[in-house]
């Protein structure tokens, strides 16, 4: 078995798979960076992703169009996050409770809608999912071609969001406003910026990204929907955001860490490693959490993190 592990083919396959597994975490955590930079913590990512997964699947199943599936997933994410924004920004509800409620709502609602539409079926309905799109030329590079340039379109798009997110946060008016609102909402208000408006925007961008990640799971990574398809990725994305100190590039590495651990355990299971499979299943979560906790000790949170803003209160 050891010989099987130490081969380039094995490594290329693990690393390629790591990227595909990192993708949904990455999309969600990039979106959550917008949200948290504005001072809101959306703990409802798990439920948001699940609704995105379902909507993406349904959109694709009934229209036959992958693009429409992606749009449906993102729309569902935006819808879910609007609820979060309403609760946390407008109603000034406790964000932990609002987020937890949103996750419970999302998982219940997704299962309910899925059953209502498809009933009980022997084999789950499937869609024709995103195919691998090898990049001409680059994908022929030995080893790296397989690892980096032989993925489906959504993987490329989501990894392209890393520099885009950085650019928006650092180089645009919107990005600066988001950071200002998250650091010092009163200052933003006194400079004529609508704190609520910026927070709604940031939370909804986060929702769109999480919805995209959900849709990726059902119509790109897999081709069907199951109730537990998200399986904790929303929470891992939250951990990644804090580990990354709200920086897109670090969020990418955090997501890849989880993706790698996950890919490794899947391959080890397939090879029949003499370790109980429950333990292997646990591995990526344990590794990710341990590393993140170790690295993120000195995290400097946005000053107004989880603080609702009210002009009248001092």
């Amino acid at each position: 078995m050891i010989q099987q592990i130490f081969t380039t083919t094995f490594f290329a396959s693990v690393l390629g798979s790591a990227i595909r597994l990192a993708t949904p975490i990455l999309a969600t955590s990039l979106g959550e960076i917008y949200t948290q930079r504005s001072g809101v913590m959306n703990l409802g990512l798990e439920g948001t992703m699940l609704m995105g997964a379902l909507a993406g699947f349904l959109g694709c199943y009934f229209s036959g169009s992958l693009a429409l599936g992606v749009l449906c997933g993102m729309a569902a994410g935006v819808l879910m996050s609007t609820v979060m924004a309403f609760l946390s920004v407008t109603m000034k509800a406790n964000q932990v409770i609002a987020g937890t409620a949103l996750t419970i709502l999302g998982s219940g609602l997704a299962a309910f809608i899925y059953r209502s539409v498809f009933g009980l079926q022997k084999s789950p309905p499937q869609v024709e999912n995103f195919r691998a799109l090898p990049i001409p030329g680059l994908s022929k590079i030995p080893f790296f071609g397989d690892v980096l340039f032989n993925h489906n379109l959504l993987v490329y798009i989501i990894f392209a969001l890393v520099p885009i997110t950085w650019f928006v946060l650092e180089k645009t008016v919107l990005g600066l406003r988001i950071k200002m609102v998250g650091e010092h909402p009163r200052a933003a208000d006194s400079k004529g910026i609508s704190v609520a408006g910026v927070r709604y925007t940031a939370v909804m961008i986060g929702g769109a990204y999480a919805g995209l990640a959900g849709a990726y799971l059902t119509i790109a990574y897999m081709n069907s929907f199951t109730d537990n398809i998200v399986s904790g990725r929303g929470y891992i994305a939250l951990a990644v955001v804090i580990f990354s100190h709200w920086k897109p590039s670090l969020a990418m590495w955090g997501s890849l860490l989880f993706g790698f651990a996950n890919a490794l355990q899947i391959r080890l299971q397939a090879l029949g490693a003499p370790i109980p499979n429950q333990f292997l299943l646990m591995l990526p979560y344990v590794i990710t959490i341990v590393v993140l906790v170790g690295v993120s000790k000195k995290a400097e949170f946005p000053s107004a993190y989880t603080q609702p803003y009210s002009r009248m209160e001092r």
Partner: protein, 519 residues
Amino acid sequence: MEYAVELRGITKRFGSNVANKQVDLKIRSGSIHGLLGENGAGKSTLMNVLYGLYKPEEGEIYLRGERHVIDSPLKAMELGIGMVHQHFMLARPLTVAENIMVGTKSKRGPLLDTRRVMREIQEVSDRYHLDVDPAIKIEALSVGQQQRVEILSAIYQGADILILDEPTAVLTPQEVQELFVILRKMREDGKSVILITHKLDEIMEIVDEISVLRDGEYVGSRVMGPDVTKDELTQMMVGREVLFDFSDAGTLTEPGKVKVALRDVHAKNTCGVEALRGISLELHEGEILGLAGVDGNGQKELAEVLTGLAKVSEGEMLYNEKPIQNRRPIDYINDKIAHVPEDRQTTGIAMNFSIKNNLIIKNHGAKRFKKGPVINYDVVNAYAEELMEQYHVKATGRNEIIKNLSGGNQQKIVLARELADEPEFLIASHPTRGLDIGASEYVRGQILAQRNKGVAVLLISADLEEILQLSDRIAVIYDGRITGILPRGASAEEIGYLMLDNQKKEAPHGNQEKEKSRV
């Protein structure tokens, strides 16, 4: 005479609480105008109305003779009103330029126009000699520099009426002079400046006119001249005569024996940065040692190591000639060391507790308050009643939640608790911060009374006036070191000089910058 600002009949309520009652105010163009009043007199509220942050229930605002409705800060800025708040409106992890341009329109649409803004900021900075680098992050700046960023921001956005809320409170005497140079330059340029303050002394020399508010009402205005005295203005502000003079409070005759001695004490702050870098001090019985310094130079950490809230990493602390470093906080309490903490509302009291529970929070384990394992509330009630009477606490009763009390009454509760057990060593950190004149008078009187009873008092304060009034000796702290110890009667200039350790303008590269307050 044209007025830059004219407020007519402004009334602002918060629920049933009236913060401004029919206030009129006229500010002449090209003048520096002081707005004087005690805490809670409604000065900040009035200016927040002018700045569009609060919407008044009644009243009209005229700018340069024309009536305007100012319903948002954005509107205020368009009308040329700028405001420098007491708590700076700056995001610490962002740069000067970012903080300024967040409030302006970008000429590049959705993209930031950083380079152009930086150049323009530099121009304004040079013009007013503000000496601000637009590319530097706020957290790297001293408080005085941050204030200049705020002024720069207002000027950059075209303000010709500038409101400054308690601008001198956080500055050293030298920084105050630098601020005044800038304000005079603004006046020369025809801009109007409004200074909100409750400290008359600090603005007397610069203002052209002073208006006084008391209990939300307009009392009157005085154009500055030789006939206007400090006493008259103070009386307008307080509504009675004040004898702010402790000189006859019994000066130190013979210093007692050494009660507390620190030898080369080092300690780190919560961020792991060394905040005390070798403090050596001696404190005698029956002596008030004032510790002057700009906030964040190690005062907080010093109070913390003396009460067991922080660890000493190096050096020695002697109390009654016995080492006392690095023990549990309860050991210090049992040794009769009392502590009036710098932040009353987070450390001094539990805001949602009743008065009586706050009074026993430190010694609720004492035998006299207990009946077996339960608290004996009969005893506690009597104890609370007694202290409340002794300290003249204004409240509906011992069961009132302390949050509902005024700052002065909250501080009285802290003092009552700390002084009840007859301490031998009292550490008072900023004991009158945020209190009005009456309450400050009371608290200072209590501290002097302790000194006269033979208690060793360490008085930590950023308020030089307070230090000068009360202290028998004055130690100055800068960047975790004692830069000098002066006798009673030292001048503010001497102290101010030591407060910056002779290095004007350089930020203390210590702890205040790093500390983020997340509540």
